[in-house]
């Protein structure tokens, strides 16, 4: 089984558009949405949910016993999550990392780590393939853990039904959900755009894939928006031996296709669609070779 994760650094460069069109073109595959706090792959794939499972996230600390206000936990917490109040302590669950140091250090066992449901995992069937996706509760933590869970479920399905390829739509940025979506994959595609922000975030995303030693490809979306910047990206790719696998032209109609639940590749007139098809054909060589 080969795994391809699509990331971008900067948000809104077209990850999900590329991913959903690839999913329509692929065979023997499972689709995976790892952007768990703003998942969008289901919108175009329009699948039927077959299985829903609650996701229990990592723990956070809470005061459950009689606090003697000794201050030891506040001193030991490296994340600044504990502060004093008049009679006991306050734990800021946003800052708490669930490390368990406070629970360990408390002399009167007044602190306990607790887990709770932080979202849902779904296994769904679309016209094209199985889609494994999730919904993190709004504002919840542990998106990286949920991404790992979604990927595990997808791998299980792929193994069970002898699927050859996993197409994984990642999250923006370079933080924990992105790292969890890259862990152990064969290839990654960075979708970027020829803007100053796009370039800066692309370079950071590339440093990340280099850090994890993953074979990296690049697609410049809306490449004709700024040809100087497109040249800069392409020179960077040359210098760092990254394969520039596609350049997709600016196409104002792409959002309209989306609004009508249509795929850009289905419009034989669309240059953007043609480029995505060509890019997929190039990828197929990597993904389906044994």
């Amino acid at each position: 089984m080969k795994q391809l994760t699509i990331i971008s650094g900067k948000g809104g460069t077209g990850k999900t558009t590329v991913a959903s069109n690839f999913i329509k073109l692929a065979r023997d595959h499972v689709a995976v949405d790892c952007d768990v706090d703003a998942a969008n792959l289901h919108i175009l794939l329009d699948p039927d949910i077959k299985k829903k499972e609650e996701f229990i996230g990592g723990a956070v600390a809470g005061v459950t016993g009689e606090c003697i206000n000794c201050g030891k936990c506040e001193e030991a917490c490296r994340f600044g999550a504990i502060s004093d109040s008049e009679t006991d302590i306050k734990i800021d669950t946003l800052k708490c990392e669930g490390c368990g140091v406070c629970e360990y250090i408390c002399p009167v066992d007044a602190i306990e780590l607790k887990t709770e449901g932080q979202g849902y995992c779904y296994i769904s069937e679309s016209k094209f393939c199985t889609l494994v996706h999730a919904r993190l509760n709004p504002g919840a933590e542990n998106s990286g853990m949920l991404v790992a869970k979604v990927r595990n479920d997808a791998e299980d399905i792929a193994n069970k039904y002898n699927k050859k390829v996993l197409i994984i739509d990642g999250a923006p940025g370079i933080g924990c959900p992105v790292i969890a979506s890259l862990n152990g994959v064969d290839y990654t595609l960075i979708v970027t755009e020829p803007t100053i922000s796009g370039i800066s975030d692309f370079v950071k995303a590339f440093e990340l894939t280099k850090f994890f030693d993953i074979k990296t490809f690049v697609c410049i979306n809306k490449y004709d928006l700024n040809l100087d910047n497109t040249d800069k990206i392409s020179n960077f790719c040359d210098k760092n031996k990254i394969e520039l696998i596609g350049k997709v032209p600016y196409d104002d109609k792409v959002p309209a296709y989306l609004s009508n639940k249509k795929f850009v590749i289905d419009d034989s007139e669309s240059k953007a669609g043609k480029e995505i098809i060509a890019m997929w054909e190039a990828f197929s060589g990597y993904l389906y070779s044994s």
Partner: protein
């Protein structure tokens, strides 16, 4: 750019206004930067530490750079000490140990210091690891600029944001450029806000992610309004939803290839078309009215 003194006195606003968006790439930074330049006098904080971009548009003069470090353990195997307690304690599975044989996975470590606490005495030590940096400076006309930058390979987004928090001062209008999404880094960035501007685009993706962001803000009791960027692409479902649910639409920015091209070069909307300045100023006054009510 001239500073409008009357405006400054009139606003003298000490509000914290964050600019967020569930979906990435809808124009958070564009809005934040243009608001800052229109008002002219504010504290600007780029909390999108994984992909910080505001500096390309505000072009600040950076005066201080501070490294952000966390502590990682190292294990003195030659002591022959038993490290299995460290492995048992670690909630992130970053330590695997059988007796004095120990393997450490730095990318999983949060730097909590637990292994030092429970491990064999004097056999576990710590060293500083740089996970990113904080930059402080000033941009024209009178903007105090702060940004964080996470180093690729570290999952410590919140640690960098926490460091930025220390510079947050309510002495003037504070604008916070948030990271995309609806999980902890976004929540952390908006948590102190008096008001949150949600930027979206009129597509099914934009609407889907906007609805999640609204839930987050409702749970946190933060008032909000919506900006529809690239108006004219996609459909009108976002606008319909806002009208039906009495959600304030603060501004609509039309889809315009010229704006996209000027953005690609690092130019701002008000450089492209100065008439936006009045609209952005008006928006801050409007937000102030809502918060003080």
């Amino acid at each position: 750019m001239e500073l409008d003194l009357e405006w400054e006195q009139e606003v003298g606003s000490k509000l914290i206004v964050s600019i967020a968006s569930g979906k990435g790439g809808t124009g958070k930074t564009t809005i934040a930067v243009n608001l800052a330049l229109s008002v002219g006098y504010c504290q600007f904080m780029d909390y999108d530490v994984e992909a910080p971009n505001a500096s390309f548009f505000l072009k600040p003069d950076i005066k201080h750079v501070k490294k952000v470090t966390i502590k990682h353990p190292y294990f003195l195997k030659e002591t022959g000490a038993d490290f299995s307690k460290c492995a048992e304690f670690c909630h992130y599975n970053s330590v695997v140990a059988v007796g004095s044989e120990v393997v450490f996975f730095p990318e999983l470590c949060h730097g909590c210091g637990g292994c030092l606490l429970v491990g064999p005495e004097r056999a576990v030590r710590e060293k500083d690891i740089t996970i990113g940096e904080i930059k402080k400076g000033s941009a024209k006309p009178m903007i105090d600029f702060f940004m964080g930058n996470l180093k690729p390979g570290y999952m410590r987004t919140i640690s960098i944001q926490s460091e930025l928090d220390k510079s947050l001062e309510r002495s003037e209008l504070v604008l916070i450029d948030c990271p995309p999404g609806n999980s902890c880094p976004m929540v952390f960035a908006v948590k102190d806000s008096d008001y949150c501007i949600l930027v979206t685009e009129p597509t099914p993706y934009g609407l889907n992610d906007l609805l999640i962001s609204i839930e987050v803000l409702k749970n946190m009791n933060i008032p909000y309004g919506v900006i529809i960027n690239r108006d004219g692409i996609g459909n009108d479902e976002v606008e319909k939803h806002c009208i039906r649910n009495n959600i304030k639409i603060l501004l609509k920015i039309p889809n315009d290839r010229g704006i996209a091209e000027s953005y690609s070069r690092g130019e701002t909307l008000i450089e492209y078309d100065e008439s936006w300045k009045t609209k952005f100023k008006g928006m801050i006054s409007e937000i102030e009215g809502v918060v003080k009510r």
